[in-house]
Amino acid sequence: MSKHQESRDAYWKANLRIMAGCLVVWFIVSFGFGIVLAQPLDNFQLFGYPLGFWFAQQGSIYTFLVLIFFYAWRMNKLDREFDVHEE
């Protein structure tokens, strides 16, 4: 396998790792906190919000937003590290 190919594979693996991390968070805030754990979390309050309800109607959306910008920033860095960024 050529050196070039090895570097491409490593880049792809690193990308998949970052992606998996982001998707885990994506899953936990929405399906975890917002749905499966919503009832127990509702015993806690965030100001006037029951916590599970907050995650379902507000918190998950904010987290999604942060995740996308984080991924864009992290991938730009990764592109440069592996020298595959755009001119």
Partner: protein
């Protein structure tokens, strides 16, 4: 100034702006027409995506839907935003790198198969037409309510405006018009929300207001809302009544469906670079989140406001509002039929409560001489009547009308464009007349757009019975057919032509069949649409998830037993996985 005149002026002004933009940004080539020359700034694309995405349903109906569903309404909030994470991480950058014009073109190339491309075109056209029919209906309804013209006239005016900027400007015209439409719709949505939030909680930010205390009381707003709705025999607002598996499946189907909707995906073909595609998804979600985090506040506050108007003192111990003393906005909306009073026990008072709750009816309603719920409230009123309930000036009401029209037109235009590019690029140029020149293809695209507008207008005027089920249909089919095919095309080098085609067909037929079985599209429903009959307790709204899993399963198994994709396909996949070289793809 008279409200009517003011509304005409505001709506008329926005139309002039849209048409002006269309003339300024005419399409000169197929590149302009399909993907706006790939020169759209990521922030502008984010705004256009947001307008493209947020339809008449998001603008007019969603807050009202949440107002009556409470916690269960969360499926729409998470489902219609969480899909952007999937788009940004799994689809947008790679499809941008691939660099051609349409979703079926990618599927056709990746699976080296015209059959795959045709199947994708069929999925796309079906998804987009069901969706667009609802939008045209929305345009007609907004026109008829605010401008008091009949639905047909409203529809024709809306079709005319879309015709001008979609046919003339193609993707380029649509993109910049959508930027303007986004500004109109978000302004129109947030202004009344801010005012109602100040009135109820003293906090100008609706997102914080929803978590604040009630103005002049000692209770949290949500706590109070829970109390008053339970006092009327409804379930607590912050608790759900749907089964957890169904809530999870609907949410996932909406998320995956969002990421698989062709008119959303194609927006990410218009930015100059791969890194822009990633970023642009973030901007899109930011602009969408402005509305989507406001909507639950609008829903909850409008519901509380409405109940406290009907039951002054917000308790069923006190007397409800007398019909003769109803406020002016009540009368206005009665005329439109969105509010209906029916004095069941003839006492002249408005008893509004949940008469579907047998326990409540026996213990509370009957002893007090109530003979049934007397007020029918259409959920759309929560947004449409909000400015009047909150006693806002007339220009705000005019703005809401313009916002509703902007939301419907922007989504309709985006959908019509993917339909016309699928016809002109994938069917005519890709199959029937491969030697067609750029000019001829552009003309074909324009003709296809014009025809699509006429069909959409017709569907909007004579909606087939299934328009109400459009959401389940469009999202379920996108989730079960297009999304898995694209994902596997990028992340697996092993999935081949046979697997992909079989997978898409399985997902499509299964989901279509399941929805038809319970909802009866084209036929009478075969079984009652109740949880006892559902597969694993999953409603037709959430069944796209099962369709998607079947698609993945079938595609993987069949690919294992058939020949691997040829070498040049593996090279194509390797190539779309790295960003470098995307700018070169602009030269197509």
């Amino acid at each position: 100034m008279e409200l009517q005149t003011l509304t005409y002026i505001v709506v008329g002004f926005t139309f002039v702006v849209y048409i002006g933009i269309a003339v300024w940004s005419r399409a000169h080539s197929t590149g302009d027409f399909y993907v706006a020359g790939k020169g759209v700034h990521p922030v502008a694309n984010g705004m256009a995506t947001a307008a493209d995405w947020m339809s008449a349903a998001s603008f007019i109906s969603m807050a009202g839907l949440i107002a009556f569903l409470g916690y269960d309404g969360s499926v729409y909030l998470m489902g219609w935003t969480g899909g952007y994470v999937l788009l940004a991480l799994l689809l947008a950058p790679y499809l941008r790198k691939y660099g051609k014009f349409t979703v079926p073109a990618f599927i056709g190339d990746r699976y080296y198969s015209k059959t795959a491309r045709v199947v994708a075109v069929i999925c796309l056209i079906f998804i987009s037409f069901t969706y667009v029919a609802g939008q045209m209906r929305g345009v007609g309804i907004v026109f008829s309510r605010f401008l008091e013209v009949d639905i047909l006239t409203g529809l024709l005016v809306g079709m005319g405006v879309v015709f001008i900027y979609a046919v003339l400007g193609g993707m380029k015209g649509i993109t910049y018009t959508q930027v303007a439409q986004y500004c109109v719709l978000i302004f129109a949505y947030t202004v009344p929300a801010v005012f109602i939030s100040i009135q109820l909680t003293g906090n100008p930010l609706p997102q914080l207001g929803l978590g604040s205390g009630v103005e002049g009381g000692s209770m949290w707003l949500l706590e109070r809302l829970d109390l008053v709705v339970q006092d009327l025999g409804f379930g607590a607002y912050t608790d759900g009544s749907k089964a957890m598996i169904d809530v999870a499946c609907i949410t996932l189907a909406l998320m995956v469906g969002t990421a698989g909707l062709p008119h959303v995906i194609v927006r990410f073909f218009t930015v100059p670079r791969v890194s822009d595609a990633r970023k642009s998804a973030g901007w899109a979600l930011l602009f969408i989140a402005l509305l989507y985090t406001t909507a639950p506040a609008v829903g909850a506050m409008a519901r509380l406001n409405l109940i406290e108007t009907i039951w002054p003192g917000a308790s069923t111990e006190a007397q409800p509002l007398a019909y003769d003393e109803r406020p002016e906005w009540f009368q206005t909306w009665e005329e439109t039929g969105l509010l209906q009073f029916d004095d069941q026990n003839g006492d002249g008072l408005i008893q509004y409560y949940n008469d579907n709750n047998p326990e409540y009816v026996a213990n509370v309603a009957e002893p007090r001489g109530w003979e049934g719920n007397e007020l029918q409230v259409d959920r759309d009123i929560m947004v449409l009547a909000n400015p009047e309930i909150a006693k806002l000036p007339n220009w705000v009401i005019a703005l809401v009308a313009a916002g509703g029209i902007a939301a419907a037109l922007s989504t309709a235009a985006g959908l019509l464009l993917v339909i016309s590019s699928a016809v002109s690029h994938d069917l005519v140029k890709g199959m029937i007349a491969p030697n067609l020149g750029d000019k001829g293809e552009l003309l074909t695209g324009r003709i296809a757009a014009a025809v699509a507008i006429c069909i959409a207008g017709y569907l909007g005027y004579n909606p087939p019975g299934f328009v109400a089920q459009v959401v389940a249909f469009a999202f379920g089919l996108a989730a079960a057919s297009l999304f898995p095919a694209i994902i596997m095309g990028i992340f697996s080098t092993r999935i081949n032509r046979e697997g992909a085609v079989a997978g898409m067909l399985t997902g499509l037929i299964f989901t279509f069949g399941y929805i038809m079985y319970f909802k009866g599209i084209f036929i009478e429903p075969i079984a009652a649409n109740i949880p006892e009959n559902w597969l694993f307790g999953i409603s037709p709204e959430g069944i796209g998830v099962v369709g998607m899993l079947l698609n993945f399963g079938v595609a993987f198994s069949i690919s294992r037993f058939t020949a691997a994709p040829p070498v040049h396909i593996r090279e194509l996949i390797e190539d779309i996985r790295v960003p470098r070289g995307a700018a070169g793809a602009q030269a197509h």
